[in-house]
């Protein structure tokens, strides 16, 4: 009887191991296929004729210079191809938000909504009208995803759909997300949004459909397209920073509120001025939101002191019930 018992246990273990092996082999196979799909096609030089097949199957010939390259097909050919889940080596992206300069112009939000084709009712970037108590001063506080170094949202994700990269970014793979919304409950900054219905992203949907065909669906392409039943959030614009371009909110802000940069380079810039991060935080007494929770955000705030504009001026564009047009 003892013998039987061990035997069956062994069988069970054996099965388990086999199953694991099969899964592993499957996974390796899939990655292989994926990498093949990602491999760059031969570059066709200018002045060449190019044969293109139309959707109805006829072949036409055009001068290749007539063909506009799309951003991403170009990107594929660059050597900076990197693992979306690992991110860029030797980088740690941080943001500094100077509350003294913010007057709720909302250009950041408009740019973000537009660039990310945000369709829900809850913008990724919000400017809060903050006043902790009746006796304390009010101020405007823009919030993005904090891209925490100890992200509570990533900890609770059951399927590794949201992940933390080496370069500090917290991104979402919306092809894997199961829509349990545990990450939303875990985030103390209420930064995550959910696609409650089929997101209608206009003409971009068509473009993205083509993207899907070429297996381009990737967590770092502006989180596009949004997928019904999955979570979205501010992504620190990896599609831009990969090309050394600042995130949209940073460039859109007319008041230079947002500074963005690489912590390892000790440098942040708002597009106008470029400063040493450590000195800026020291001089202006930078802090982070809810430090006590131990999330270690990548977004620093400079306190709203010596403000250039009156708080009240921002009230004009403040809408309590709307953040996406």
């Amino acid at each position: 009887m003892e013998n039987k018992k061990t035997n069956s246990r062994r069988k069970f273990l054996d099965k388990g191991l086999k199953m694991g092996l099969v899964t592993a082999i499957g996974a390796i196979g899939l990655t292989k296929i994926a990498s093949k799909l990602n491999a760059s096609p031969d570059e066709t030089g200018s002045q060449d004729k190019m044969q293109l097949m139309t959707t109805d199957g006829t072949v036409i010939e055009v001068d290749s210079s007539e063909v506009m390259e799309m951003d991403h097909s170009k990107k594929k050919q660059t050597e900076e191809e990197y693992d979306v889940r690992e991110g860029m080596p030797n980088r740690k992206f941080v943001m500094v938000i100077d509350l003294a300069k913010c007057k709720n112009a909302l250009k950041c939000q408009t740019a973000c909504n537009k660039q990310h084709y945000i369709t829900g009712d809850h913008a990724w970037l919000k400017v809060y009208k903050m006043q902790e108590d009746a006796d304390t001063a009010p101020y405007w506080m823009p919030t993005t995803c904090m891209h925490c170094d100890q992200p509570a949202c990533v900890t609770v994700c059951p399927v590794d759909a949201t992940f933390k990269r080496r370069d500090g970014l917290v991104l979402i793979d919306n092809e894997r997300c199961i829509g349990c919304r545990f990450c939303m409950a875990a985030c103390p900054y209420s930064t995550r949004v959910f696609n409650w219905k089929e997101p209608n992203q206009g003409e971009i949907t068509m473009l993205m459909d083509m993207e899907n065909q070429t297996d381009h669906h990737s967590a770092d392409f502006a989180g596009l397209p949004s997928v019904k039943g999955t979570v979205d959030k501010c992504d620190f614009c990896p599609h831009a920073i990969k090309d050394n371009v600042l995130p949209h909110c940073v460039t859109a802000c007319p008041n230079g509120v947002f500074y963005f940069g690489d912590k390892y380079e000790d440098t942040v810039t708002n597009g106008e001025e470029t400063l040493r991060l450590s000195k800026l935080l020291e001089d202006k007494h930078g802090y982070r939101l809810m430090e006590g929770l131990g999330t270690k955000p990548s977004v620093f705030y400079l306190p709203p002191v010596d403000r250039l504009v009156d708080f009240k001026e921002g009230l004009e564009s403040f809408t309590d019930y709307k953040s996406v047009d």
């Binding site: 007539e66 170094d149 470029t274």
Partner: protein
Amino acid sequence: MRNQLITRHFFLVVLSVFLYTSSFAQDRVRLKAEYVKIMNEGSYFDIQATAKVNDENVNVSKIELIIYNLVGDEQVEIGKTITNMQGKSRFKLKDLNTIKPDSSNTYNIDISFAGNDAFSDASKSIVFKDAAIEAKLVTIDSINYVTATLIDKSTDSLLIGQSLKVQIQRLFKSLPIGEEFNETDEDGTILVPIPEGIPGVDGILAIEVILSESEEFGTVKTIVKAPIGKHVVDESTFDQRTMWSPRNKTPLFLLIFPNILTFGIWGIIIYLILNLIKINKS
């Protein structure tokens, strides 16, 4: 894969044709051009094509520009370039010797656009002399400085009273160091201290000394690689076993204890099921 790419390109062709025909005929193109020389690397022209369409500034993409060198009364074509989606183009000069200056050692370049269905012709001329910056790293009293000398190559003389920018190359925008304007002294030289503790990958800082958009010389830039930076230390927890790691980097205690419990309980469950089988057989 290939087919899909082609389909996509086809779509773009259709889109671009559509864009071309729908825009108003014959808008004026405005060209902006800048001459940039990077020491030991070469020179190039940065060209930007814009047009006012319906009172709105738009970038003119995919137009062909021809670059000419004016020698005496003669226009010598030195190359062609096509603007990109943002209406920008960078035309690289392999060598300054491929173009010829006039008697005063000044180079005259014309960039011209022949015009097409949508846009009328346009041209832009730029004039520049050759200048050079020689920069190096010096250490005085254990403080690191970058020193740079600005030379007018057309006359082989030092340039005095020109202001140079010194900055450290960074991912997005370079970090300026020294004064806002560092004017060259009577030796055509500046001396700028490098602040301590600036980090760089492997401790290497790429310091740029720039003569920026000078009317006479265009932009001249030199890059000094200085191994004086603080080494960048990767603080990321990416390689560690943390609560926020993917599953192949799960903390060990989270693998050990739940698995002991799970397999323990399921072991008992299986034993119980075997008992059912035993009951069935006896």
